[in-house]
């Protein structure tokens, strides 16, 4: 099998423990080319999996194939095809944006002139020309993270691992980075993204896998996953905001009007919101815990409808 007709990633029975603590517990996963998200809370095993897939860590047991290559046996060949962007911007703070990119390019084996040309292209594409001659340490968190991703692209990798790429960024920087990642995917680069942010997986990935206690517990598109917990409901709240009931609805204006009139008659002095299932609901349904407690309602599209 060559590296071009193989699945992106194929894993069977992957196990990894740190002393007594089992992090990956017989994980199976097959991913085609495209953009994939691994969703899970802290400690789910996401970063360990990425480290194994990117040749940083050996597995205890199981088989792993990335682009048709074994991360241990074909280490150096695979390293030419992948790039890793970790949770912290892996750029050299004392070097300028340009120097960082050229250094990474040269370490990938590019001639200096090629590395400089590609570096300039990337700085332009990522709107980082202001960082060209500035030391990375003086850049904002968002710019550093963009520089980090740009550095990984100088080798034109086939597969990019993004390990929680927007952790710690403000909403605006996160949105900017999402746009860049989206463009990267449109250009044909495959991406494996790990995230705790549910809306990030929803916005970026074709396919989402939910990782819980070292195993994949569900997989599919965001829509398919949300369907696991039912359809849209009208959520009825009392004056304290407590949920009184969920009333299923088709979501059409006619059905909403009919249902609201019925609720209003039955429960005066209540409020209602239109609640569509979120990935957080899915996560709660699958694992019994929330992915991130501070983001429970980010995707919730609400319709405030005072009733009665």
């Amino acid at each position: 099998m060559t590296t071009t007709d193989a699945p992106l990633i194929e894993i069977r029975g992957l196990r990894k423990s740190y002393r007594e603590h089992t992090v990956l517990d017989g994980l199976d996963l097959t991913l085609p080319p495209g953009v994939h998200a691994l969703l899970g809370p802290n400690g789910a095993g996401k970063s360990t999996l990425i480290k194994i897939l990117s040749t940083l860590l050996p597995a205890d047991a199981g088989t792993v194939s990335v682009l048709g290559l074994d991360p241990r046996r074909d280490r150096r060949r695979l390293q030419g095809l992948i790039t890793l962007t970790g949770q912290f911007a892996a750029v050299d703070g004392k070097l300028s944006g340009m120097e960082n990119l050229v250094m990474i390019g040269q370490l990938f084996g590019l001639p200096a002139a090629t590395a400089r040309r590609r570096a300039l292209d990337l700085l332009e594409r990522f709107d980082l020309l202001a960082a060209k001659d500035r030391r990375a340490a003086t850049l904002s968190g968002g710019m550093r993270r963009k520089l980090d991703i740009a550095a990984g692209l100088i080798s034109r990798p086939r597969l990019v691992y993004l390990d929680e790429p927007t952790t710690g960024l403000d909403t605006r920087s996160r949105q900017v980075l999402w746009n860049e990642i989206g463009e990267l995917a449109e250009n044909g680069t495959s991406i494996l993204l790990t995230t705790q942010y549910l809306e990030e997986a929803d916005a970026l990935a074709d396919q989402i896998r939910v990782l819980h206690e070292g195993r994949i517990v569900a997989g599919g598109t965001a829509t398919e996953l949300k369907a696991l917990v039912g359809g849209t409901v009208i959520r009825v709240h009392d004056q304290d905001g407590s949920v009184l009931e969920d009333v299923p609805t088709t979501g059409t204006t006619a059905d909403l009007a009919r249902q609201l009139a019925e609720i209003s008659a039955r429960r005066p002095h209540t409020t209602a919101t239109l609640h569509r299932p979120t990935l957080d609901d899915v996560f709660l349904h699958l694992t019994g815990t929330r992915a991130r407690s501070d983001e429970q309602s980010t995707l919730e599209h609400t319709l405030a409808a005072p009733v009665g």
Partner: protein
């Protein structure tokens, strides 16, 4: 467990273009890696002017203090105290102490590299990542040899004269350079083992005291007997005695051999530990 797609099903490829046939870069060789990362480390050094200034100024100030404050009162051969003689006496110790200060910077930069995400990125790239450590070593050698040259120039300016031949001077400088290499590799290894840059610097602090507990600043015979045992048998004493002998135009005798053996031992130990730890260490 809920799985929408069957385990093992490769799934349907989404709208993205299929993987292309762009050639994968082969990765840098060891020499290119060493050149690129030495350049990086040297830039670090010279973009941190305070560190370079301290690495040069501190030994110069130490030398001036020892020579002008103590030099008039200390005798190293039982004769009358002489600042010029004491200058020749302490010069190797000052150069080796300077090397210790300069090399301790290596522990900090290596620790910084190991505790940020950069090391993970480098270790997923197709080049020998150990050149990262070698690059720091080259930069440390350059920094410390620069400091040594400045110390010698200041020594000449304040009256140091020698009848040593060029070969003897080169031999003396060679021993100092060998110690710079040893202590740099030791500090680089400490930088890898330590949990933080501060800890890395602290662990190495004890090494900085070795020249004071040797024949570097006063004859071993002048020390209390319990200290003589340590001072006579620690690596700095033969290293300093051999370097001093060569610097003043005398034969180093067996001291040079003992000094080189000590250095080789330290190097083998530090490189062995580094070779074991480095491949196992990802960012902490």
């Amino acid at each position: 467990m809920t799985l929408i797609e069957t385990a093992g099903d490769p799934g349907t490829a989404p709208h993205h273009p299929s993987p292309d046939h762009r050639p994968a870069p082969a990765g840098a060789g060891a020499l290119t890696g060493l050149r690129v990362l030495s350049w990086r480390s040297l830039r670090h050094s010279f973009r941190d002017p305070e560190s370079v200034l301290m690495a040069v100024l501190l030994p110069v100030m130490m030398m001036l203090i020892f020579v002008f404050v103590l030099g008039g009162a200390v005798t190293t051969d039982g004769g009358a105290p002489s600042r010029a003689e004491y200058l020749s006496y302490v010069l190797p110790a000052i150069a080796l102490t300077a090397a210790g200060f300069g090399a301790s910077f290596t522990a900090v930069v290596v620790s910084n590299d190991m505790t940020t995400g950069l090391i993970d990125r480098l270790r997923t790239m197709p080049f020998p990542a150990v050149t990262l450590l070698l690059g720091h070593t080259v930069a440390s050698m350059v920094r410390n040899l620069l400091a040594t040259v400045v110390v010698v120039l200041v020594a000449l300016a304040v009256g140091f004269r020698t009848e040593a031949s060029a070969m003897q001077l080169l031999g003396s400088l060679g021993l100092i350079a060998l110690w710079i290499l040893v202590i740099t590799v030791v500090f680089a290894t400490l930088g890898m083992l330590a949990g933080s840059a501060e800890a890395a610097s602290g662990y190495g602090f004890i090494l900085l005291f070795l020249p004071y507990l040797s024949s570097g600043f006063a004859p071993v015979e002048s020390m209390p007997s319990w200290l003589q045992a340590f001072a006579a048998h620690q690596p700095m004493t033969p290293l300093i005695d051999a370097s001093r002998a060569l610097l003043t135009g005398s034969a180093p005798g067996q001291d040079a051999v003992v000094a080189v053996l000590w250095c080789a031992g330290f190097l083998v130990l530090a490189v062995g530990v580094a070779a074991y730890v480095f491949p196992r260490r990802t960012s902490r």
